[in-house]
Amino acid sequence: MPPSHAAADTTIDTGPGTGTDAPRRSLVRLGTSAMSWLQAAPLALVLGLFLIFPILTIVVVSFWDYSEFALIPDFIFDNYADLLTSRVTWSIFASTLGYAIAAWILTLGIGFTVAYFLAFHVRSLTWQIVLFLVCTIPFWTSNVIRMISWIPVLGRNGLVNTGLMRLGLIDQPLEFLLFSDFAVILAFVHLYTLFMVVPIFNSMMRIDRSLLEAAADQGASAWRTLWAVIVPLSRPGIVIGSIFVVTLVMGDFITVRLMSGGQGASVGVMMSNEISLLQYPAAAADAVVLLLVVLVMVFGMLRAVDIRREL
């Protein structure tokens, strides 16, 4: 166990409740305990103000009633009843999950490959850093710009269609390229693959190279080394990257709206529609349900790997 955790455990053990010691030591321990509280206070304050409080507000508002132009403080379950009994909600959650799963599989595949190449095939640290920075170049522009740039590429008269038609490969423009689920998932992969690359690369760099030599000495093939050594040891990175990608996709609305031409549905789109129509309580109820779903997914992933132990 890393020293930091040991220290944390000790602090908990030495709380004021552990009675029978000498008074002087307990005073010291009280001091230590107060110190810990003080040290934790700034972060607790920030999280309390900017995370816990807003979420609590959303939970409270989700039970309010609303009219066309006003929020009415109340305690009703109508928002949840409307939400959970509507067929539309379920289909929207299903399509959001579909996007998340597709984006997750693709970003994982691509992200793992890129990280593997950077970590094990690029030998010099300088080049690793250079190539890693190259990966981040797209992030120098806003993600809306990156998304919108796809439109002239994929459109009916866009680069891809024009190119393919000039080459004589197709007679009619491929309509599915833009304003479709294909376009949405493509944009997700484009936007979020780096979130997979970074943590996986980080995990891979911590793998002791002698383990790979040992595997080779034992006669393992490259594939077997990959599967039996590298993948298990990269798991923390994979899980962290997956949490990033899944939570980003589950909460997204702008990618879905732009790339599906407003025809696709995700929970985020549903919420943004409701907010623009001033139905804040309904949107808050959506947000609470989405938060629960995403939390369940994240806990599921964390159960697969104990990140704290492996970091």
């Binding site: 066309e68 929207i92 993600n143 809306v144 459109g155 909460g251 702008i254 031409g261 025809q263 001033l278």
Partner: protein, 442 residues
């Protein structure tokens, strides 16, 4: 990712443009929206001692509304002509409606659409205007007073402006059936909307029903703003003979169900290429050729044409869907500020603004005063549907139409006389929005 939200929504805040906002709704919204924050906080106005504020030039009036009529050029001209300061805030129409009711202290002048007025005025946050103090009252187009453009025209469905244009007394919040001495809103800007088409990529389009013509499969679009989109959908459904409505502006649940069912079927059949929500989206869809027929706004058509791409604001045999806005006074306005507001309103109707709006393709409440600020050629092109003798310029001087062009749909009387329905808010609004979301999610 809230930054993402902000950079694309229709009413998104952005930096105010230093140059003239130009004719596009997009530019206007971008330019004026940044003032939102400025106006939001300052509730100090009413608190100044009147002695201190004797000079009207120290008055600041805070106006908020939709981007379409919150023009920086107007604020500059107010400063020049009247001497006091007009602070503008532009929001999207949903936010406008909410703010008008929930933060009545945050504005002095509300620039709202008539259908918003129907909801906002009864909330008691505004005060009616004494028509005796409005010098050009008798020059206001009768569309806004009696509802009839000409004595024999029929009144369109929906929230027709005259139905929410008057109240009985200074303190009343219920709308009067006929014109009284107390007006809720002074009309500022209005227009008749129809479908935009690419004439080079469509055959003859003459009916709203053509939006769902299988010939345009995968090449049609409709706007995804429920309160307006449902109206366009209803125009289509009625034109196809699929649904009959008692009042398209106030549908029953059954009528909503039938309309949405028709739209969902069309969507599943792949009729729509995309749905648009903001002005620039509609321009890009049309200009790129992704869409050849769609719901559109007049300046968007002009923006497509400005790129050298043919685009037509096609008049249709069933008529137009019209909308209109006006300015009204906040309840808390008194004394000098109210005097300044009346002065502003009288100035607004005196012609300069009217000419400015007409040059953007909208209509003015007092065309006869606007005429004084326009050339005969401009008047002929915009109001009378005549061929332009010289190039038609936008207010910022760019060429909008070449000499010889005629306005789509013709003259003022032809266009505003053929309104089938006004933008409105339905009694079943909440139900309609739920069904509309089903359509979008289908």
């Amino acid at each position: 990712m809230s930054t993402v939200t902000d950079t694309t929504g229709a009413g998104s805040p952005a930096a105010p443009s230093a140059t003239d906002s130009g004719p596009s709704r997009r530019g206007l919204i971008k330019g004026a929206a940044a003032l939102a924050g400025v106006a939001a906080g300052s509730g100090a106005l009413g608190g100044f001692p009147t002695i201190w504020a004797q000079n009207i030039k120290t008055v600041t009036l805070r106006q908020f509304g939709t981007g379409v009529s919150n023009l920086n050029a107007v604020a500059e001209k107010v400063k020049e002509d009247l001497g006091f300061t007009l602070q503008l805030t532009a929001l999207d129409s949903d936010a406008v409606a909410q703010r008008a009711v929930t933060q009545p202290q945050s504005y002095d002048i509300a620039d709202i659409e008539y259908w918003i007025c129907k909801k906002v005025f009864p909330a008691g946050v505004m005060q009616p205007m004494d028509v005796a103090r409005i010098t050009n009252y008798d020059k206001i187009v009768p569309l806004f007073t009696t509802g009839k453009l000409t004595p024999d025209s029929t009144i369109a469905q929906g929230t027709a402006p005259h139905t929410v244009g008057f109240v009985d007394s200074e303190t009343s919040t219920t709308f009067a059936d006929a014109p009284t001495g107390w007006m809720t809103l002074i009309p500022t800007i209005y227009n008749a909307d129809t479908l935009g088409i690419r004439p080079d990529l469509t055959k003859a389009v003459s009916s709203w029903a053509d939006l769902l013509d299988p010939a345009y499969k995968g090449k049609a679009s409709i706007l995804n703003i429920p309160s307006i989109g449902i109206m366009d959908a209803a125009m289509v459904a009625e034109a196809m003979g699929e649904v009959t409505y008692a009042d398209k502006g106030n549908m029953t649940q059954d009528e909503i169900d039938q309309t949405i069912a028709l739209m969902i079927k069309a969507k599943r059949d792949g009729q729509f290429r995309a749905f648009w929500k903001s002005f620039d989206e509609s321009v890009n869809l049309m200009a790129s050729g992704e869409v050849v027929i769609q719901s559109m706004w007049s300046p968007a058509v002009a923006a497509v044409r400005a790129k050298g791409i043919p685009c037509k604001y096609q008049p249709l045999k069933e008529g137009y869907r019209a909308w209109g806005g006006g300015i009204g006074l906040a309840k808390h306005l008194t004394g000098l500020e109210r005097d300044a507001a009346y002065e502003y309103i009288n100035w607004y109707l005196s012609g300069w603004v009217g000419a400015y709006l007409l040059r953007q393709g909208y209509y003015s409440a007092c065309p006869s005063t606007a005429k004084l600020f326009m050339s005969d050629d401009e008047w002929g092109y915009w109001m009378q549907g005549e061929a332009a003798e010289a190039d038609i310029l936008s207010p910022d001087g760019t060429v909008m139409e070449q000499a010889g062009a005629r306005r789509d749909g013709g003259s003022f009387e032809e266009r505003m006389g053929a309104v089938a329905c006004w933008n409105s808010v339905m009694d079943e609004n909440r139900y309609m929005i739920r069904k509309w979301n089903e359509f979008i999610a289908a």
